[in-house]
Symmetry: D3
Subunit: 240 residues, 6 copies
């Protein structure tokens, strides 16, 4: 029995609220249950040094968490003067995940920065961030398209992410904090709309996981991601 | 004529949404028009070194802005590795303003940290932060009181803040970004419920301001702050 | 009765020693009683990035304190690896105060950096720094003028600063450390030669200050600043 | 055809040289082909704050690369003043991998720090580091055992790691730099002696990888890791 | 012929002004010609961790230079966020030089920090700093003695320093900036009152220096240091 | 009697292994007894800003020590976020020593960076680093010569370094850690093939050293360096 009463293959309620803030080219509040992340997409008419003059764009991500997004307050990274290893790991993951569906030549010499800021955390902040950032990135691309700044639409695929794990011996989908804190294995899966893996990150917390457990988790992840991709499409089909 | 169509002595719509996030002892979303700041109050059962063993508590504040809270994206302070002078100045101001209404002996050897994070900026972020942080601080104090952790209520006064300025030659209340960017003088006023000044910070941007201009701005500030204090009382009187 | 025996409206002895060190275009040792600050003005033939190519110059300030300028030694900021919030706040104030009297177009694409380093502290270091930096800045401008590097003189006004406060219930001018440590209110006033306010920063340390107390403090500040402006003029009228 | 002429399931020559340097409790030079990493295990009689007084030990890792370990020199992290996100990600991975086989209660209140420093890089530095660090950790545990500082041997399993990927459409084992730079997918697999997964990190570089590709890669990894585990056992069985 | 007209073995005018600032236990303005350094000695009733509980004290030094002490302004180290290698090298040298004449057991569990801040630089700042810091240290020790906080006087020797070099082929004493910038060899010599070497640091800038040149430089240094030691004694013999 | 049984004028066994790693233009493992340092020379086709466009090259050095190169583990500088003063002092010394034998015009607008990383420390790491870095630098120059990128060979001399000291009252050559920790005086001597001094750094640890002790140490150093220079020549004469 899961603490939330969910079935093993049940996602938490999904929230994808577009135009959450005013200034960004894309701005989405994403919720996976009580986890809430603001994802903004900012377009800049320049690229990092290593891409200058190559006719290609770049997509990158930054991740942060408000100090009291969690149950006990954590230090503000800006005050400590550096980002933790965890933060860097997550923002690198988000960036890679989104770049996997971007045609950087179609984007042109521009950078899109995805800022994912957790305002409330209850497990799964990185998978929520990827799922929400995709919608924000899509809105930013439409923004460029409406202004006739593109010759082709730069997204060639769709991407979403979810966590899976082994909780009290059973594979479960989309772990909340209560489950995550106790899980024996925790895996984040990033997948595109064709069911291809973009990123797989699994960690044994308690015992090493067996190949059959891996298969069960991957199956759960596939089911969850298909629902998340559908939720993204629905949101994007509506007027924001 | 103000860009927003407001009269010189008119505040923007005020939003004070309590229990905005789940984890903090106090959590308020404050809005001054389009400016939106999340203010959380976190209670910690310890005090900074210089107060240890003295039977007194501490109240402090930290301030941040999401990178795309503004019209053009600013660098993430955590990534740059340090807080700007502006950030430090603002968080020191918020801390002083709130400490002015706290009886630190009644609080006991605890620290309350007020995190003020701007998610959307349109001028007046520091005055909105002070006004919202007061409500979050009050909720945190009630939280301690309900748990019978206090012998006396530690707040001995109420505090709110507003900006005033000279815009196109005329004193105006509660400047939005369009006004602020062009104002000749910008002043932040922090006041308690008895009309006493807690903090006054005025800066001539264009020409030096005259004593009569100062008087007119202080009069506007007083009127605005009385409305903000009333809004705080109304919010706190309702169940959250 | 003030610890120093001064009357409430009495400044400490003022020292403005020009050409205190050899290398800078302007170099002034300023003293407000026992407070001693070395203010140098350094001219650089370049401007910060945001001003490049705009035909305008820039004036900025940096502030520091020798570790043993104070009664108990404070850590060296260079060794700690960052400037405190207080330092940043003060250097931003000094920069704004001086820019208020500079015609940046007349200055041309140059930067003047005002370094204000406290070698002995006894209260009022920021107001002494502003008052001394004006003289150093003036000397640097004369230096450029003598070299025929200017078409117009870039200073269109004069600026000085003083602190006022409420000490043991009475408004007093130019607080020394003994008064400052105990004052209920502390206010720094920056004014130009026409009596216009350039900056006002008042903080209630004990109780909130009333409008009549504010008026009394502003009156004292005005009187003190007029004497400081006169002292600056005298110094500048003599050969250094 | 692989650039090195290896078959798809062929590891590079493995080197595990114990007692490579004199001072550390465990010191191993590990080679996967031309990749060379010095892994030292240092025992400290203390634990991090969060474990103090709990009767348990800790194992952690740090990773570095000499500036000219690579084909073009990279900046020295100590000179830049911070570790890159990549470095932090790798050292967190190494630490988690090794902790998975440690009984921290049997270790007692001690910390073992595994320093993995790459002196020559040719792909697979993190998997070589994990594989070598296990041997260094084992030597450090034997060192403690010989000094009768343990009541039980703290390692309850064995761990090794290898990379797999899709190179020119074909799954291959243990990628060298020439392959890695061009691979469409790159996956690091950490496994114990029972064939359980300790960590799985797969990233699509070019196209998303399909479930059948995942299976093929996992199969290759299993075969490679079994050989690495055997090599570790052989080394440890000999006198160093 | 030296730019200053001095003979090869002639020191610049020496200034040793005690009680230069008010707060420090020892405070000396030292001048070697136009080089001016404020040296303060601060006593703290604690020692660094590695000495705690050992009944011995510590003497250490920090060095800084005001940004415009030099002909062209250098960046403020506190603003850059770190001390240069040059600064660290110099402050380590000053600390070693002074510790060489201190009986740390007689000092007791206290630290004396020597802050050497250059307000005007014209070559030889480190040797001036050592020479002046000795006087400040002596005053601080007398301060402790007057308060009956010592059982024995902790200085068992006297120390001073001077630079020597090869300028246009000729060995010269106490190089000023004009000479230093052009010198083929630059050597700093720290010596005690018995003519023993405490520190020797010689660097060939142009050609390597021969043994006979070394001898000539050491002879000049000895003569100069004897005069400096005499100047210290005279200063300390007078009432400050 | 020396702990190692050596005579006072006896060097430890010298190791100079060229082509120790693959990527660098020069790569040498240098050993002075148990001290082991990897010295690589990396050629970059650019120069620091202050040399740009002047037709001259630059040679610089960086120094590091693996955390467990020493008997007790020291913190990783990259993790601490800054290099110690000791590290900076040593790398500045190595850079100066090597530049003394380089004709920077013959080098052309290139930089050679010498990375000296200690993998095992037993005293004398800086002198071993200089001695090994010379060989690495020479190999890098030959590398450029073979590619016909030079018109003249840029090395006009040869350089090596050794430590000398007073151990238990007697001058000794090439101190190992056991001697160094106890030595009364420690001196590092850098010399060229003509017997000219390039750098001399002597520090009295216990008592100040007398002129006759200085002479004896310099004599020992000369003898040792002549052997080191010979060892360099032999190594360079053989095919690597």
């Amino acid at each position: 029995m899961r603490p939330s009463g969910r079935t093993p293959d049940q996602l938490r309620p999904i929230l994808l609220q577009r135009q959450f803030t005013r200034h960004a080219e894309g701005s989405v509040l994403v919720g996976f249950g009580d986890t809430r992340v603001i994802c903004t997409a900012s377009v800049q008419e320049s690229v990092p040094g290593f891409l200058r003059g190559k006719g290609r764009g770049w997509v990158t991500a930054e991740y942060g968490m408000l100090p009291r997004a969690t149950n006990s307050r954590s230090d503000r990274e800006a005050a400590r003067g550096k980002q933790t290893g965890r933060t860097q790991e997550i923002q690198r993951l988000i960036g890679r995940a989104l770049r996997a569906v971007v045609n950087t030549e179609a984007l042109g010499e521009r950078t899109v920065i995805l800022d994912c800021d957790v305002i409330q955390a209850d497990g799964g902040t990185r998978t929520a961030a990827i799922t929400g950032a995709y919608v924000a990135l899509h809105d930013a691309m439409r923004h460029l398209e409406r202004r006739r700044m593109l010759t082709r639409f730069p997204l060639h695929g769709q991407v979403a992410a979810v966590s899976v794990g082994i909780y009290r011996g059973e594979p479960v989908l989309d772990l909340d904090y209560a489950e995550d804190a106790e899980a024996e294995t925790d895996m984040n899966v990033v997948m595109n709309e064709a069911g291809g893996y973009i990123e797989l990150q699994g960690t044994a917390e308690g015992h090493a996981f067996r190949p059959d457990e891996l298969s069960a988790m991957l199956e759960l992840a596939r089911g969850g991601i298909m629902q998340l991709l559908e939720a993204q499409r629905e949101t994007l089909a509506s007027s924001p």
